[in-house]
């Protein structure tokens, strides 16, 4: 194919051109996919005596992903020891070591994601040229669109090695009867190395004779927790437990990165071989927490329970004057079924009422988010290093606080049905929000404590044993959560991407241009001009975004389960569902761009496009280099109904009968089949994306959740 275009283009003399028959038809996605295979082996043993108990295990896991080249291999081992040094002193140490080798691809909508690339490359582009080399004749039209099959053949690489040592050490000393001191230390050492290579012939390294980079990340996270507990019972009915403690935590993350160009040979894989060093940098990021806390529990005769707790947390992330937050909670419960007046009621096995109220804090922000900075990272000009305003400071930045009230009832009746009904009301104040500001400041947003939000809802869980026979049992269960989310206070409403943040509205309310379909006569896109929906227009300059009355928050969600057992055979099925949550396909403006990004290809939904006057379709006219803005982002054209029911897990297992096992000297043996995501029903029959998405409802990757089927054997010796 060298020298010949993938398809002949002949000008028709009147400003247009006609296309010949393509020389090849490459189904890129098929070429990039395969059936994956997972293998997992575990071995464990445990034992001990009065002074020492132990548990040790080793495991191996290998996953060949359903995308060529992508795989993961992990070795891990674990040793847990518990030593009773003397009657009052006990030590435990749990050590977990793992090493993971992984190779694969980037996710998300980037050229560097070969799968995304596979959607964008036209089928007229061949995989190999006449010499049998990976084809690169399209590279000037698809700058980043390097032959993804070639890239994943090993000519490019992206490899990770992750080594992790996690150790938890505790010492527990009983100072006096009922008074215990416990010191717990957790060390988590994570070493993460990445090697990245782009080849010199058809890859991103072609202008630099090959490009390779290596980065090493070392993360150390330690937590030390010291607690003193005192427990005592009086008169056999007053039971008390008091706890006081201090916890310190620090995490540091150091990165070293180097890159080099001009590689003498494509199979060399360390920077030492490359002729030209290109980049070298390192960075360090840290955070720390420091907390004092106390807790008291009291119960009367195992019937009435009262708990109270208080803590003072400090975080390095907040402004120097606002680092500390004080949080507390109180709760109580009453086990009615232990009262005399209910003990005689045979139908009621358990009945408990409970309520609690508490305040918690959230510090889920960047490590130096409160500090105004002048940044030197990656800033240079003409060979000199420079500095720029990096971040606006906010010394008032402080903890986000959530006040949560819970009340509920737990029960079991007729020795068959149990359940929990719980009401929750959670009001979060001082919300940590990145609020857009005028770009004339030189910045696009400022992190602020900017408002309050309320989540109220009801959560119901029910399980019933329908048949409880000797050989045959059948149980069903289900849970449902009704959720209502409202922003209760906001300094000023604002727009965050596809969403509107406005008082009185759901936090995930979409703020969009509303799609009014395809003009059947012209194939042009149409939108409603404003929220009155009285007029439509094909011009983006006539339309505005508004609250379209849909949210990414589901109206309700939950799951249900059923299990059947007959002798050694057992079937477990677990379903999940979600209702009235809306998804925004953020990949669609490119993958269904109606020709806006030609010569990039399209998904097969383009086959439904408008072609002739009178065609009724949701896909507008396709035009080479389309500028009709039909692929306008933040438009409900790409908003999809995420309502679905999914068979998350199906497990069929068989326990070999003990008569058989004793003959071969095994304690237990079980064979099983497990299927994950095997079946999904969606309210929108044409839904083409995976209905499970992040809370925000945004779908950023064309890669769906995996459907996996596995078989396994568990043997107990």
């Amino acid at each position: 194919m060298t020298g010949l275009p993938a398809v002949d283009i002949t000008p028709d003399g009147s400003g247009g051109y006609t296309l010949g028959t393509p020389r090849v038809e490459t189904l890129w996605i098929d070429e990039l996919s395969r059936t994956g295979l997972n293998q997992s082996y575990d071995l464990s043993l445990s034992g001990g005596n009065a002074g020492l108990t132990y548990f040790a295990s080793g495991s191996y896991f290998k996953q060949e992903a359903p995308i060529i080249y992508s795989q993961l291999e992990r070795y891990s081992s674990r040793v847990n020891l518990a030593i009773q040094a003397n009657p009052r002193l006990k030590f435990t140490n749990n050590l977990n070591i793992s090493s993971t080798q992984q190779q694969g691809m980037n996710d998300a909508t980037r050229w560097a994601n070969p799968l995304y690339n596979g959607y964008l490359l036209a089928p007229v582009i061949p995989i190999k040229d006449e010499q049998g080399l990976f084809y690169d004749g399209h590279k000037n039209f698809f700058m980043g669109g390097n032959n993804p099959v070639g890239s994943l053949s090993g000519d490019d690489s992206q490899e990770w090695t992750i080594n992790r040592v996690l150790n938890n050490l505790t010492g527990e000393l009983e100072i006096l009867d009922g008074l215990k001191f416990k010191s717990a230390w957790s060390f988590d050492l994570l070493n993460f190395q990445e090697f990245y290579f782009r080849n010199a012939r058809f890859g991103d390294g072609r202008n630099t004779a090959g490009f390779g980079s290596e980065s090493t990340n070392n993360q150390l996270n330690w937590i030390g927790t010291q607690t003193l507990t005192y427990g005592k019972s009086f008169n056999n009915v007053h039971n008390t437990l008091f706890l006081a403690g201090y916890e310190a935590q620090k995490s540091s993350f150091r990165n070293v990165y180097a890159a080099a160009e001009t590689w003498p040979h494509p199979s060399l894989r360390t920077l030492a071989s490359a002729a030209n060093p290109d980049a070298a940098s390192s960075s360090l990021s840290e955070y720390s927490f420091s907390s004092f806390f106390g807790r008291a529990n009291y119960n009367y005769d195992g019937k009435y329970f009262i708990d109270a707790s208080i803590r003072r947390d400090g975080s390095s992330r907040f402004g120097s004057e606002q680092r500390y937050g004080v949080f507390w909670s109180v709760g109580g419960s009453w086990i009615l079924s232990r009262e005399g007046f209910l003990e005689s009621v045979g139908a009621i096995n358990d009945l408990k009422l409970k309520a609690s109220y508490g305040v918690t804090g959230n510090a889920g922000i960047g490590n130096y988010a409160s500090i105004g900075t002048f940044s030197f990272s990656g800033v240079d000009y003409d060979g000199l290093p420079g500095g720029i305003p990096g971040q606006i400071g906010n010394s008032n930045l402080t903890w986000e606080r959530s006040e949560t009230f819970n009340a509920g009832v737990e029960f079991r009746i007729f020795d068959r049905v149990d359940g929990i009904v719980e009401y929750f009301d959670r009001e979060s104040d001082n919300l940590l929000l990145n609020v857009p500001i005028s770009r004339t400041t030189g910045f696009s947003s400022l992190l602020q404590n900017f408002g309050a939000m309320k989540n109220t809802g009801l959560e119901i869980t029910l399980n019933a044993d329908i048949i409880k026979g000797k050989d045959f049992t059948w149980g069903v269960g289900g849970n449902i959560t009704f959720l209502r989310n409202r922003i209760t206070r906001l300094e000023e409403e604002f727009i965050a991407g596809t969403k509107l943040r406005r008082e009185g509205q759901d936090y995930q309310t979409y703020w969009m241009f509303e799609w009014a379909g395809v003009d059947a006569q012209t194939g042009a896109p149409t939108w409603y001009t404003d929220s009155t929906r009285s007029e439509i227009s094909s011009s983006v300059n006539d339309i505005e975004r508004y609250d379209i009355g849909k949210s990414a928050t589901p109206r309700y969600f939950g799951g249900f389960t059923t299990n059947l057992a007959w002798k050694g055979i057992r079937v477990d099925a677990q379903f999940t569902y979600s209702w009235d949550n809306w998804l925004y396909d953020a990949t669609a403006w490119v993958l269904q761009g109606d020709g806006r990004f030609t010569p990039r290809s399209q998904t097969n939904r383009v086959l439904d496009r408008w072609q002739n006057p009178g065609d009724e379709t949701e896909v507008p006219r396709f035009a080479w280099g389309n500028t009709s803005s039909s692929n306008l982002r933040n438009s409900t054209r790409y908003l999809l109904d995420g309502s679905h029911i999914r068979l998350r897990n199906l497990t069929v297992s068989y326990n070999l009968p003990s008569s058989l096992l004793s003959a071969v000297k095994l304690r237990s043996a079980r064979v099983y089949f497990r299927g994950v995501n095997m079946w999904t029903w969606t309210r929108d029959a044409d839904l083409y994306v995976d209905p499970e998405a992040a809370l925000s409802g945004i779908i950023n990757s064309p890669v769906p959740n995996l459907k996996t089927m596995s078989i396994g054997v568990d043997i107990g010796l």
């Binding site: 002949t10 051109y17 000037n140 039209f141 700058m143 980043g144 100072i175 001191f181 202008n207 030390g224 010291q226 201090y246 310190a248 290109d278 980049a279 960075s283 990021s285 840290e286 720390s288 420091s290 975080s315 490590n367 130096y368 500090i371 105004g372 900075t373 002048f374 940044s375 030197f376 990272s377 800033v379 240079d380 000009y381 003409d382 000199l384 290093p385 420079g386 500095g387 305003p389 971040q391 400071g393 857009p436 500001i437 005028s438 770009r439 004339t440 400041t441 030189g442 910045f443 696009s444 604002f494 727009i495 300059n541 030609t598 010569p599 280099g625 500028t627 306008l632 982002r633 933040n634």
Partner: protein, 463 residues
């Protein structure tokens, strides 16, 4: 037992250390209040300002590309993509170029304001250096405001008193600021004031990759030309030319200078090195064969260039094109890794500014000489210009168009001459082939994300 108690206390108190434990500072940045404490810090800050100009949303690509694809010098290839809405006058307020360019230029202005508003006290010995750095920042702040008002506002002279909307003038950082748009008259006044301050503050040192006194004078000459202040423009052009800092160079070096990633006569150019990793973000990549190849030279432009003119070699044959797309690619910025410096202003433009200013002030001989200086450098056998009157103006226009092609000047000239865009070699839809003046679509809309965050910003008419 006591032994354990002591151990326990030790553990508790060693962990429960002071507030220092929570006092962590970033390692790749300094707290803002400590940022500028020495002349070296001020040097870092001005380097940061220059690095803003490098961005692909400014001189790296789009600020140059967008006005060119809106003009009659450039036509679209079949694979045209990134700036397509602009080439077809279909821009909209949420388009990424419209939004990002605005944010980028104001970010650079903010960086310049850090330098300008510094409170650093230095020794007498360092006073000149401090003054020089501040002068550079003033000149760049002027350049950014000037660029913003050119692309987001109608040209100077669009209304009699220039009371039509320009862009907000930002001279101080205010995180709560929600400024409204200043008029074009006010923005030009600020630009002139900043350039004048810059000229006062800077010394005589010259380096083409940095702002200099000569560069500020050159920019001021351009601003005066755009305002129709021809005498002032001619005087400033005289000052730049007579400064001797930059020469026109020779015919022999003309093509080499472009091939080597610079230009024949840069007064202020943005430096790009392999370190900047500009690569696929570079302006040249939009044109060259080994790039995206989105945009092609129009026959309207090519027909103005004689085969004996060296500038006809700033194109490269591409047999894969053909038909309506022709067979030539632009090769003025040839680096595949994006290491071509970009000339923000160069001496050729100063000659053309002076030619037009001289013509407008009745000095036709001088205007002819200026055209000849530029034309005969690239085309040594060309006859001297003898045309007078409007025929001379046509020669000035033609020469400026050819010499400064693909450097982002043509659209601004058409607008201030109050002419539309007429493309006879047009690969865009016919609606974009003949676009009359005046036109709402010759400028970009206000970015939607700015309007959303700042209610004081009024949208441009027609958007």
């Amino acid at each position: 037992m006591k032994k354990y108690l002591y151990m326990m206390l030790l553990v508790v108190f060693s962990a429960a250390c002071s507030a220092e434990f929570l006092n962590l500072q970033p390692n790749e940045a300094l707290p803002t209040e400590n940022a500028i404490q020495s002349i070296d810090d001020l040097t870092s800050a001005i380097i940061g300002v220059y690095s803003g100009l490098q961005s692909s949303d400014h001189y790296g690509r789009y600020f140059v590309l967008v006005p060119d694809v809106m003009s009659d010098d450039v036509k679209q290839n079949a694979s045209a993509n990134r700036a397509k809405e602009y080439a077809e006058f279909e821009a909209f307020s949420e388009h990424f170029i419209t939004q990002n360019m605005w944010a980028r230029l104001y970010s650079t202005i903010n960086r310049a304001n850090v330098v300008i508003n510094n409170t650093l006290e230095v020794t007498d010995a360092a006073q000149d250096e401090k003054s020089q750095i501040e002068g550079e920042a003033y000149a760049i702040r002027a350049l950014c405001h000037f660029d913003l008002v050119r692309i987001y506002g109608q040209h100077y002279g669009f209304t009699g008193d220039n009371s039509h909307l320009g862009v907000p003038i930002i001279t101080e950082f205010d995180e709560d600021g929600e400024p409204s748009r200043n008029t074009v008259a006010q923005v030009y006044q600020q630009v002139i004031s900043d350039l004048t301050t810059a000229i006062d503050k800077m010394g005589d040192d010259f380096s083409s990759t940095r702002m200099s006194k000569v560069a500020a004078q050159a920019l001021l000459a351009r601003v005066n030309l755009y305002m129709g202040e021809y005498a002032a423009a001619a005087n400033l052009a005289d000052a730049v030319i007579s400064s001797g800092e930059v020469g026109l160079g020779t015919s022999g070096d003309y093509l080499d200078s472009w091939a080597n990633g610079t230009s024949p006569d840069p007064i202020f150019e943005i430096s790009y090195s392999a370190n900047d990793n500009n690569g696929s973000d570079a302006l040249g990549r939009m044109y060259i064969i080994d790039g995206y190849g989105d945009y092609l030279p129009s026959a309207d432009l090519l027909n103005l260039i004689d085969t004996a003119d060296l500038r006809s070699n700033l194109f490269k044959f591409d047999g894969n094109l053909g038909g309506i797309f022709g067979d030539l690619r632009v090769d003025k910025f040839p680096s595949v890794i994006g290491t071509d410096n970009f000339p923000v202003i160069r001496l050729s433009e100063i000659y053309m500014i002076r030619a037009e200013a001289r013509y407008r002030t009745g000095n036709e001989t001088g205007a002819q000489a200026d055209v000849d200086a530029i034309r005969q450098r690239a085309w040594p056998t060309a006859a001297a210009v003898t045309a007078t009157g409007t025929a001379l103006l046509d020669e000035i226009e033609k020469e400026k168009r050819v010499e400064l092609m693909f450097e982002g000047h043509r659209l601004w000239d058409l607008m201030r001459w109050q002419r539309g865009v007429t493309r006879t070699d047009c690969t865009a839809p016919t609606s974009a082939c003949d676009v009359a003046y005046p036109n709402d679509r010759f400028i970009l809309p206000m970015p939607q994300n700015e309007i959303d965050a700042n209610p004081n910003i009024a949208q441009n008419p027609g958007y």
